[in-house]
């Protein structure tokens, strides 16, 4: 058997942390990981945030990101231990033998330089190609990656191509110096589902064509199943399970892997609407001031008390704008909103306190939705004080009740948001919304920034709360798996219009319009060969392509 290209033995990685009230000290974030990558093979690294995936990926380049130290073990690339190598040797390694594709292409490209210059830079600097050859190779790669106008796309600046295209340009950048190994760090996570599929396909084909080996890092098992030969499941810096794709997906051994495979399996039976709706959106048309086009065009949807309306669509479809119109942040140019038996005035400033109280909102980024200088007690307590005039012990008691309801329990009142995990933060935001005893909560992508297992927990909690509090949810998301899990009715939005609307089963059963078909088929499924099937059968190309 041939030698592995990348051989990692007992890799330990540490970092220094600076807690607010204690002395800085060192912690270990990766506790001895072993794995091999054979030439031309793809290893998927999967795990939730904080599992050490990216840190391990970067270690393959002998690099530790800000403050991270490679404290022990060996990393062998092409038969030498790169952790012991000299600086000049490491310089040959990075961008020569091992290259890197990061999550956000937009943040990684230099906005002031043309794409071609950046794509060929490493190949030329490493002395692998002359400028002319490197550019020829880049154009070939652009073609391989299905980029439009491959001869000339290199003359554009990064802001002149779409997000999905830029991500593919970055893949070209990584492949240009003819590396032996490419580290893909969540390359499709920041993209829309409909765009993700094209990028995935391009990456997969480029890997196959060039025969390069790859480390593919992601938190989405369904995605990694499409591109990898082997998968390593990581949790808190330790390996949980290692196996080939087939075994991990179809016969996982460890409990944790089983949980990852079966995530998104919440069963929720659709409730039929009855009585008058709590929220009626009638002919809403809206535009942002200073622009000359409508971002929402004649929207009509209903939502019944205690039920969930899911608004789905890709970014730019107007989902969040609809939320802004309903909350009053963006007064519509036409149409009206009927809420709980009364008309809502268009502008926030002229709404009655009762309207504000009964209509609450939860955001995607729990981090920025909470004031970092307020404790959890203050954050949840403020609506109680503001709407119900609760004070002192009575308020404390109610805060604790709410914390129990979101399954956090004692000891959280005096914590600051920075001292909570991502899932806990989102729970506190839910508690803040619940504190107002609302009739309707608008949930704007509330699970998108969370790990799959944590997101599952939040969805279960929301369903549970809906039963107890009889609150309606307007659930904005781009993730159809989430929609299947919790919606009663669905509105599919595309370019500011509702293209499909109705009960969950109706919307999700054929015959589909082209856009709904594209959206539905783009959601990665936990099975092998899914990517090829979809590419072969879908009717419409993604707009962001």
């Amino acid at each position: 058997m041939s030698e592995p290209l990348l051989k990692v033995r007992d890799l330990k990685i540490g970092a220094t942390i600076y807690p607010p009230d204690a002395k800085p000290h060192d912690i270990e974030i990766v506790h001895g990981v072993d794995f091999d990558v054979m030439p031309g093979k793809v290893l998927g690294l999967i795990g939730e945030s904080g599992a050490g995936k990216s840190t391990i990926g970067l270690a393959a380049m002998a690099y530790g990101r800000g403050g991270v130290k490679l404290t022990g073990g060996e990393v062998w690339v092409n038969g030498r231990d790169v952790l012991q190598s000299s600086r000049s040797d490491v310089r040959d390694l990075r961008g020569g033998e091992v290259t890197y594709v990061s999550q956000s292409a937009a943040a990684s490209f230099n906005p002031a330089k043309k794409i071609m210059e950046q794509v060929t830079e490493a190949a030329i600097l490493q002395g692998k190609f002359s400028k002319a050859d490197a550019e020829k190779r880049a154009i070939e790669l652009f073609r391989k990656l299905d980029l439009p106008d491959p001869e000339n796309i290199g003359t554009r600046f990064p802001h002149q191509v779409s997000g999905g295209q830029l991500q593919r340009c970055m893949t070209a950048l990584a492949l240009c110096p003819q590396p032996d190994l490419v580290v893909f760090d969540e390359p499709t996570t920041a993209l829309d589902v409909t765009t993700q599929i094209d990028v995935l396909k391009a990456i997969k084909e480029a890997i196959a064509d060039t025969g390069v080996a790859a480390l593919y890092i992601t938190h989405d098992l369904a995605v990694v199943a499409q591109v990898s030969d082997h998968i390593m499941v990581l949790r808190q810096g330790e390996m949980v399970e290692y196996g080939d794709v087939d075994q991990i997906i179809n016969a996982p051994r460890e409990e944790y892997t089983k949980a990852l495979v079966s995530v998104r399996s919440i069963e929720h039976k659709e409730k039929t609407p009855s009585g008058t709706p709590i929220l009626t959106v009638e002919n809403i048309t809206a535009r942002y001031s200073g622009t000359n086009f409508d971002v929402l065009k004649d929207i009509n949807v209903d939502l019944h008390s205690g039920q969930t309306l899911a608004v789905v669509g890709e970014s730019g479809s107007g989902k969040s704008t609809l939320a802004r119109v309903i909350t009053g942040l963006l007064p519509p140019t036409k149409g009206r909103i009927h809420f709980n038996g009364r008309d809502l005035s268009n502008a926030l400033s002229s709404r009655k306190p009762e309207d504000l109280r009964e209509l609450q909102m939860i955001y995607q980024m729990a981090d920025t939705a909470m004031n970092p200088r307020q404790t959890v007690g203050t954050i949840i307590g403020r609506p109680l004080e503001f709407y119900f005039g609760l004070k002192g012990a009575e308020k404390q008691k109610r805060i604790q009740e709410l914390l129990d309801e979101i399954e956090l329990g004692e000891g959280f009142q005096d914590r600051y948001p920075a001292e909570l995990s991502g899932g806990q933060k989102q729970r506190v935001c839910i508690a803040r919304a619940l504190a107002a005893k609302p009739k309707l909560i608008i949930c704007d992508e509330v699970t998108s920034a969370l790990d799959p297992l944590v997101a599952d927990g939040i969805l279960k909690l929301l369903l549970q709360l809906q039963k107890v509090e009889d609150v309606a949810f307007l659930f904005i998301t781009h993730d159809l798996a989430t929609v299947r899990a919790i919606a009663d009715s669905i509105a599919v939005m595309y370019q500011g219009e509702v293209v499909r609307y109705g009960g969950k089963t109706d919307v999700l059963s054929p015959p589909f319009d082209d856009y709904t078909d594209l959206l539905l088929s783009s959601v990665p499924e936990m099975k092998l060969g899914w990517l090829e099937d979809v590419i072969a059968t879908r009717k419409m190309q993604s707009g962001g392509n």
Binding site: P20, L329, P353, Q360, Y363, P372, R373, A436
Partner: protein
């Protein structure tokens, strides 16, 4: 908590100056306007820094001068911060025409050199410590307004501020509870800088003769009174100059340290 050496030096010197200013009447060896010796005596056991141009003890003058200078600078800084920050926050949170009117007015004020504006106003009105403080505070508040508005514009687009608006909170809750705690560290650091500018400003005015009026001592005034001595090789005017310089540096060292320290607190923003 470890204090870096530079901050330690800054803290000690700043503390020393403030201590001398606050307890001036206890530690000064002579009365403020008391003539106790000859003109421009060299330093001696009785007069550590010598005497000034009409025979007053220079150390005493320096201590009282420091009191006046530091008091006026502190009061003016507080005034400029409270007005500048509040109006800056209001402009940022309200947006629209409120922001336009306030910002354009501030632009207008900033387009006039403040020293010249101060000279014109002070030559027309009665110069007292109070008018000096109010004038300097208001002129300088335009700078604070700019900073406060810029910081608050950044913060007011955060979702927790939007959440507060959706809850129906009034503007002063948003300013004092949501924005101010998150804007504090850049403002505190700026405060050190503005304080120094106030010291320089009041010293300049006094040197030009329209600031603090005799017989009250202040550092700029002492430079002015003793500047002729330089022609005769007498360094009396240098002491207040050195004092102004070291105070400026030490306050800056402290402000630097405050800024680096507070930005890493509790995940708060800078």
């Amino acid at each position: 908590m470890r204090i870096p050496l530079s901050a330690m030096i800054g803290l000690i010197l700043t503390g020393l100056y403030f201590f001398a200013a606050i307890f001036a009447s206890w530690i000064a060896p002579y009365g403020m306007a008391e003539a106790v010796g000859d003109v421009w005596e060299p330093s001696s056991a009785a007069h550590w820094l010598g005497t000034d141009q009409i025979g007053r003890d220079l150390l005493t003058r320096m201590i009282y001068g420091g009191q006046t200078t530091i008091f006026i600078a502190t009061a003016a800084t507080i005034l400029s911060f409270s007005t500048g920050a509040i109006f800056g926050f209001i402009a940022a949170v309200s947006g629209g025409w409120v922001d336009q009117i306030l910002s354009r007015f501030v632009d207008l004020m900033m387009s006039i050199p403040s020293l010249i504006l101060a000279l014109v106003i002070l030559s027309a009105i009665d110069v007292t410590v109070l008018t000096l403080i109010v004038l300097m505070g208001l002129l300088d508040s335009t700078r604070v307004f700019r900073l406060a508005r810029a910081v608050a514009v950044d913060i007011s687009v955060m979702e927790y501020v939007e959440a507060a608006r959706l809850r129906g909170e009034k503007i002063f809750w948003i300013i004092f509870r949501e924005i101010l705690p998150n804007a504090l560290s850049p403002l505190v650091a700026e405060m050190g800088l503005r304080f120094i500018f106030m010291v320089l400003f009041i010293s300049t005015l006094s040197f030009l003769g329209i600031g603090v009026q005799p017989p009250l001592a202040d550092w700029g005034g002492i430079v002015k009174e003793n500047k002729d001595g330089i022609n005769f090789g007498i360094g009396a005017a240098l002491y207040p100059a050195v004092a102004i310089c070291t105070l400026a540096i030490s306050v800056n060292l402290v402000a630097d340290w405050v800024l680096t320290r507070t930005t890493s607190l509790k995940g708060g923003r800078g």
